[in-house]
């Protein structure tokens, strides 16, 4: 099932499906790209950033960015 990264729940895993081209440049350097496995680690309250694991390392992503990343969530 496809879902926005910003709407993923704690400990959910999936594969990155689409990244809005406008933020691709900004985010590839962080190791986030299409086809990568991703796991939701923490969601900070009050529209705070999400923390995800990609390639065994944690990265925090602003909610605004996370809104523009689509993940195929594994059931």
């Amino acid at each position: 099932m496809e879902r926005k990264l910003s709407e993923m729940k704690y400990e959910e895993e999936g594969v990155i499906k689409r990244i809005d081209p406008s933020l691709r440049q900004q985010i590839t350097g962080m190791g986030i790209r299409e086809g990568k496995e991703i796991k939701m680690m923490t969601k900070q309250p009050i529209k705070g950033p999400v923390v995800v694991t990609v390639d065994r390392s944690n990265t925090s992503i602003g909610l605004g960015l996370a809104d523009k990343i689509v993940v195929e969530v594994a059931k």
Binding site: Q25, Q26, T28, G29, M30, G31, D55, R56, S57
Partner: protein, 175 residues
């Protein structure tokens, strides 16, 4: 150059014998520091820059790093990569290679990668990139002799060549 928290300042201090602030937090270095090191019998200038994810700066510290690189057209760039997060680090390295700088890659925190059971074929990476790749553990000074002795091998590489090499080596260095 390298991403945040990969050990650039530890490198700087080791190589220049200087003491800029180091800490185990990303973003410790927000401005650049200059020092000198002995290289092939003469003193050369060494610059420590803030960490940056890419050459498209997203904050002030990243701007300093990118500006520094752009001002120092003759620079030889030591790309410090966290060996336990190779892919991330290679992105920046490739960008720097693309801009035509002679590069030497240091796979730092080699011990951490090993402890995490991450195997990196440094030799193969070296063949693909066409620049020297050295495994280091900066806080203990491991790999520095090799690093300094091989800095002279750093040379600009045509990015198209790298792309060819990647296509040529079907078995990648990571999954």
């Amino acid at each position: 150059m390298g991403q945040a928290n990969v050990g650039k300042s530890v490198f700087f201090n080791r190589l220049a014998g200087a003491r800029v602030a180091e800490s185990n937090y990303p973003g410790t270095t927000v401005d650049y520091a200059k020092g000198r090191m002995l290289f092939e019998g003469r003193y050369v200038e060494l610059i420590d820059v803030p960490g940056t994810f890419s050459l498209q700066p997203k904050d002030r510290a990243e701007e300093v790093a990118v500006k520094m690189l752009e001002e120092e057209k003759e620079a030889l760039v030591i790309c410090v990569i966290d060996a336990s997060k190779v892919e991330r680090g290679l992105y920046l390295t490739l960008e720097i290679i693309e801009r035509g700088y002679p590069v030497i890659v240091a796979l730092n925190m080699w011990d951490v990668a090993k402890g995490g059971n991450i195997k990196i074929e440094a030799k193969k990476l070296e063949q693909i990139l066409g620049v020297p790749v050295v495994a280091t553990v900066a806080i203990r000074g491991e790999g520095f002799k090799e690093l300094v002795s091989r800095m002279g091998e750093a040379k600009p590489v045509d990015i198209e060549k790298v792309i060819e090499n990647v296509k040529g080596s079907k078995a990648g260095t990571h999954r």
